[in-house]
Subunit: 326 residues, 2 copies
């Protein structure tokens, strides 16, 4: 039986990926340090006999190497995913993203595992002038510590693919939405509207244009590409795909979707300016022709994804209490 190792298994995308693999009859070894992961996201997985959970941190290379033994491939999803507050703790991106990825690669090498799927980000493009932004956009100038740490991870993975014969699949995500989402603007807006339904604080002027992808579509895409396994025979054993939908929305559109769904008409209070925070990119829209050419396409629109996210948050208000403080 195939045996897959997932870092960040108790996270948003990791737990959804684990559930999908387990449903497909794949054995999963899940690894998480539970710094932001939620044990409740693994309730289903923990009932499956072919699931093993190991608590550990990616900075503990011996434990990571030990836990990975016997696996065939790795999905490396664990990360500090906080793009906005990077400057408050620059070391976090270095440790939890860059050094963590190095350790994952070293643990794989020690175990003779060569296939890796990696969650990178559209933030690696910085503020690209080419929109929609393709995978071969001009060599970007980084604008966030998060993006910089993901570029660092991508680079090491590609160098291992070249130097050690690894087979690598790198996915540059837009923001992901859906069940088990605990982070981002829908989370923040719903939280605000629970606390004060009559007004909503919006960072920037609301005109920021952003792309989102529904988490089940994201998991579909990752598995579709990794299972095709085209990197094994390609010139460069690193395949890079943008993951998103062929659309974007304004923050103001999203506000409208959310308020309509909740039946609220709050006063909108804008903080002003064309971006929400230092390093915020006012227009994120990735070219997704490459992933679409593989036969994958998203099932939900952004509006539908926001709707599902909101319904999940309404049914799981415990995540607001469970979320660790920054």
């Amino acid at each position: 039986m195939q045996k897959v190792f997932i870092t960040g298994v108790a996270g948003f995308i990791g737990s959804n990926l684990a559930d999908r693999l387990l449903a497909d009859g794949v054995a999963v070894v899940g690894w998480d340090n539970f710094s932001t992961g939620q044990e409740r996201f693994l309730e289903n997985a923990l009932r499956q006999p072919q699931f093993t959970l190991v608590r550990g941190d990616n900075l503990d290379l011996p434990a990571l190497t030990h836990a990975m033994a016997g696996c065939d491939q790795v999905f490396h999803l664990a990360a500090n995913a906080d793009v906005r507050f990077g400057t408050e703790h620059p070391r976090k991106d270095l440790e939890q993203n860059t050094i963590a990825t190095f350790n994952v690669l070293e643990a794989m090498r020690a175990n003779g595992i060569k296939r890796i799927g990696f969650s990178s980000t559209g933030s690696t493009y910085g503020e690209c002038a080419v929109i929609p932004t393709p995978e071969d956009a001009p060599f970007p100038v980084q604008t966030s510590l998060y993006g910089a740490s993901k570029v660092a991870g991508e680079g090491m993975i590609a160098a291992y693919a070249e130097g050690f014969g690894f087979e690598a699949y790198i996915f540059r995500f837009v923001s992901i939405l859906g069940e088990r989402y605990t982070h981002g603007h829908v989370f923040d807006f719903y939280q605000q509207l629970l606390e004060h339904p009559d007004w909503l604080r919006i960072l920037g002027d609301g005109s920021q244009r952003k792309s989102y992808l529904y988490v089940q579509d994201c998991v579909d895409a990752i598995l579709h590409v990794v299972r095709a396994g085209t990197a094994a025979s390609a010139k460069h054993r690193t395949q890079i795909y943008n993951l998103g939908t062929a659309e974007y929305v304004q923050v103001n559109d999203s506000v409208r979707f959310i308020c309509n769904a909740l039946g609220l008409k709050p006063e909108l209070r804008y903080t002003g300016g064309d971006r929400g925070w230092i390093g915020d990119n006012p227009f994120i829209f990735l070219e997704t022709k490459k992933i679409q050419a593989t036969g994958w396409k998203p099932k939900l629109t952004i509006e539908q994804g926001i709707g599902r996210t909101l319904r999940w948050l309404q049914a799981n208000r415990w995540v607001y209490e469970a979320r660790p403080q920054k």
Copy 2:
């Protein structure tokens, strides 16, 4: 008086930069762990009253922060510069390049220093299909751990420029040649010809096309750009320049220059293949229009640079003994 901090001051480029700055009346604090640096390269600098040498490693952040106190700007040149043997010790690039660069940035932040010049590399372009390769070449796929670690460094520097208002000058070098060169094909070929003048082992088939720049031209370019200080008023406070000459040579051309200069006609023994080692890029040629547009241009051709390098090696055969074992 201006006071400049140089990491890797006992290295090839660092020591030449220090000598130039000292000649210009600038105070220099030099920092080196002497892992590959040579105290003899600092003989001139150590005679200057405005030069201070501090022994230390970039992984020691408190000592680095302390040493940097009172400086106005930083040239971060310290690195593991061994692109070829990266896969023998992958941790070295992570520690000495990526983490080291993070520490330099943190030490600057702690000291309120905001201007940095950084030695990056054309290796960050991987095997770019666009030749000559411009600064905004397509987002590269890394092919070496060295290139990956320099991309990681560039990314963090740019993120600090964006997030903390740093002013950053990143230079992507071709291979540098000249006085105090201790590393690369001229070094290896001359060493071989000292040991066995009648034959020469050449990695690959000798058709690899490479670019080189003379170290004094390199130092000229760095100071020309950093002194102009254009990043202070630019949209992105990170300025990136390729550094090289508008020409390239084949390894076979270089062999001819060297053999002619030495008056030798060795038997040429090729290891074969279109590249010298795993990850070797068979064609490196950077577009240098951007740096030339600033008014800088190189004074020496590649052939002249190789000639100077060879004469320096002939006069300084001690470097073959001083060079640390890998």
